[in-house]
Symmetry: C2
Subunit: 421 residues, 2 copies
């Protein structure tokens, strides 16, 4: 005869043994799965096949009799700037269309601010002592790498479902003049899918900052990347900053990397006229002009905002089932676990999985052992260090659906095993 | 009865009147001619029309099963690096193929050295006090602009027909540790067409420098841009620097801007393995990869070195008559003038016209009045200041031949008038 405690303990052992066996069986399959990066799948890339033979050998003349084959046109083609005007939320004259990628534009605007200062800086940032950026966490590892490369101190602030914790942000920027920038992915954020509320955007636009040359690095990477029919629109940061007397505060970035072809796409910058003038004065030292043929190619292919929306609907049709599969597997396998949560994004490229404190690295290591590459635990935080070791970024777009299903099952097993161990 | 002096003076007056009348007649035509920039003509761009529909909608896979449409491939496609290996004079693994343009690569390597230091720097250049570059003059205005933008002191050194004055160069770099770089256009230089001799290249590779992290910014922009059948080859700077114990000294740059399409071309960097590693470590903060589709497009179009050479022959056929016309007009109109000389380049994009000291600005002003845009006098020198006010850069490639002839006639008239005044 056994008592209740014994039986319960035996049950747990049996359950754990089953998890271990399932994990070992999974591992024994010798799969090679990869959920690391937000890459479009081959089928998504096929949606833009037409680009590969555009603009066509007789089509090289843009507005104003511009021969796109020759030098010049630093700000980008007029029709390309018009094409993205709605998406960027500014007039074409406040837009710069550049080569791939928006990451390069973000990097370079940091570099120019360090070496030259912004148009509101008394001197280059690099001559003003320490520079700091606010980093809503979890966030995008490549933003953090730019700061790390250039010695900019990163100050994490919590990212909530409606944007960064604004009481923390407002307090920090008002007190610390070394805070010269802030990374923001305001819509369908990487990795949580957070969408900045109108109230948060308004407060970012209006808040007092100790640094007179404070800049919002507004990486609107997922602005047309909806996963539902809701098509969320956020408040217009350029307009709001201007209205609140800080017209030069936002540097707005976007790209076609996940609209057409990563690498072979266009990057866009939008801001006040003064900031655009400042950026062009830097760019003219670096280049005589961007790849205007690629701009023409994109104009011919995308045509207008409706063309972009149509293409994004076709992307959505390909990737929504993958997101659904991950959510379905996590729901079935992990819903009962305490302190395990995940986001259900309405757009973007990621699901953010939170495991119990101290378990993220272990889960990623177990996954690796079982043939599933995950983004390193910690990558979602400055310096690659997640102080709670909780957050794992899941990128389900690149593998085919059966692989996504397998990988999600595998990840769930790893979470079960790690927390059982 | 008139004496010789009187008659001579009258002759001069009559001749000067005739020049003035010819100039006024030229001006009255109200022409709009432009010899300012080294731009390919429309007919030259037509040579690469095929690029506008390449690679074609089903062709996106490069070596190693690389999907050129997706992210990645920081160093550039293997086949693109192989394609340019001969031109760059290094193995493919010592080459980086990037987006347009080489100017951007030069700018960025200066920026990275300032902010991070080179792989041989004890600290970033910007933390080591003043940085200086040697600038052979006359030289390329956009090189000088990079230095001016970033507060790098420019020290002019004379450029002779066989390269920079090496006794001046060797003395300066051995004494002044602030000299961290030197601009070199070693072949068919901009604007004189100078070709660095083997002896000069060897000395640049072997000379002692006070700065341990001294870099030759080796802008081999015109390496395949021959204007004669001679097809001059210069000594291999990467090999020579390695042989003399300074493997990291050269940063070699080239591009397809004047091979295929300016703006829509590729830029190349070549150097030691250590420098390539250093550059890639910087680039990875800035971008996930270059436009690989454009690299594939170029590989498909150019095919191999013979393909490049054939294309350059077709360029030559289009531009040689323009160079010949300018030289013919200058020979006919200016040969008798003292202190007026011009280069007869064997390659490249420019003719450098030297007028008597103190006259260059006047000639450019007269030309402008007569409807001919010339590169501002002084542009060939650091800070836009030609201390002797002598050198005028003539760029004959862009206008059609009849316009080149008219413009050359006009420039000759301006020289005659300026020196007669």
């Amino acid at each position: 005869m056994t008592n209740v405690a014994q039986r319960s303990s035996e049950d747990v052992s049996r359950a754990n043994r089953q998890i271990r066996e399932a994990y070992d069986a999974f591992k024994a399959k010798g799969l090679k799965l990869n959920l690391t990066r937000g890459k479009p799948s081959s089928a998504q890339l096929d949606l833009s096949s037409a680009l590969l033979s555009l603009p066509g050998s007789a089509d090289y003349t843009a507005e104003g009799a511009t021969d796109c084959r020759n030098y010049g046109g630093l700000q980008g083609l007029a029709e390309a700037r018009r094409l993205f005007s709605g998406i960027m939320g500014t007039a074409p004259e406040q837009i710069v269309v550049a080569n791939n990628s928006s990451l390069a534009l973000m990097h370079d605007t940091v570099v120019y601010a360090l070496l030259k200062g912004t148009c509101d800086s008394a001197s280059p940032w690099s001559k003003q002592g320490e520079s700091s950026f606010l980093c809503p966490v979890p966030g995008y590892d490549r933003h953090f790498s730019i700061c790390e490369e250039h010695g900019i101190r990163m100050i994490p602030v919590p990212l909530n479902g409606d944007g960064p914790d604004m009481s923390a942000v407002a307090r920090l920027v008002s007190q610390d003049a070394s805070i010269r920038g802030m990374w923001c992915v305001p819509k369908y954020s990487n990795p949580t899918g957070a969408v900045y509320s109108d109230a948060v955007v308004e407060r970012l636009a209006s808040m007092k900052t100790a640094a007179p040359d404070f800049r919002l690095y507004w990486d609107n990477a997922y602005t047309v990347h909806h996963l539902t029919d809701e098509h969320i629109e956020i408040a217009n940061i350029v307009e709001l900053c201007a209205r609140h007397g800080h017209p030069n505060r936002p540097f707005v970035f976007a790209s076609t990397s996940k609209v057409t072809l990563p690498g072979a796409g266009l990057a866009m910058f939008a801001s006040s006229k003064e900031n655009v003038k400042w950026l062009l004065a830097r760019l003219t030292q670096r280049t005589i002009g961007p790849d205007k043929i690629n701009q023409l190619r994109h104009v011919r292919f995308l045509k207008d905002e409706a063309g972009i929306a149509g293409l994004m609907d076709r992307h959505k049709a390909l990737i929504v089932p993958k997101f659904q599969k991950v959510l379905e597997v996590f729901g079935a396998k992990l819903a009962h676990l305490p302190h395990v949560t995940w986001t259900k994004p309405k757009g973007g490229y990621f699901i953010s999985l939170d495991v119990p404190q101290g378990f993220a690295r272990r889960v990623v290591a177990l996954a690796k052992e079982a043939g599933i590459e995950l983004t390193p635990a910690g990558a979602t935080h400055p310096y690659g260090k997640d102080p709670e070791d909780r957050t794992i970024r899941i990128a389900p777009t690149f593998p085919e659906l059966p692989e996504v299903a397998q990988a999600a099952e595998g990840v769930a097993l790893c979470v079960l095993l790690a927390t059982a161990e």
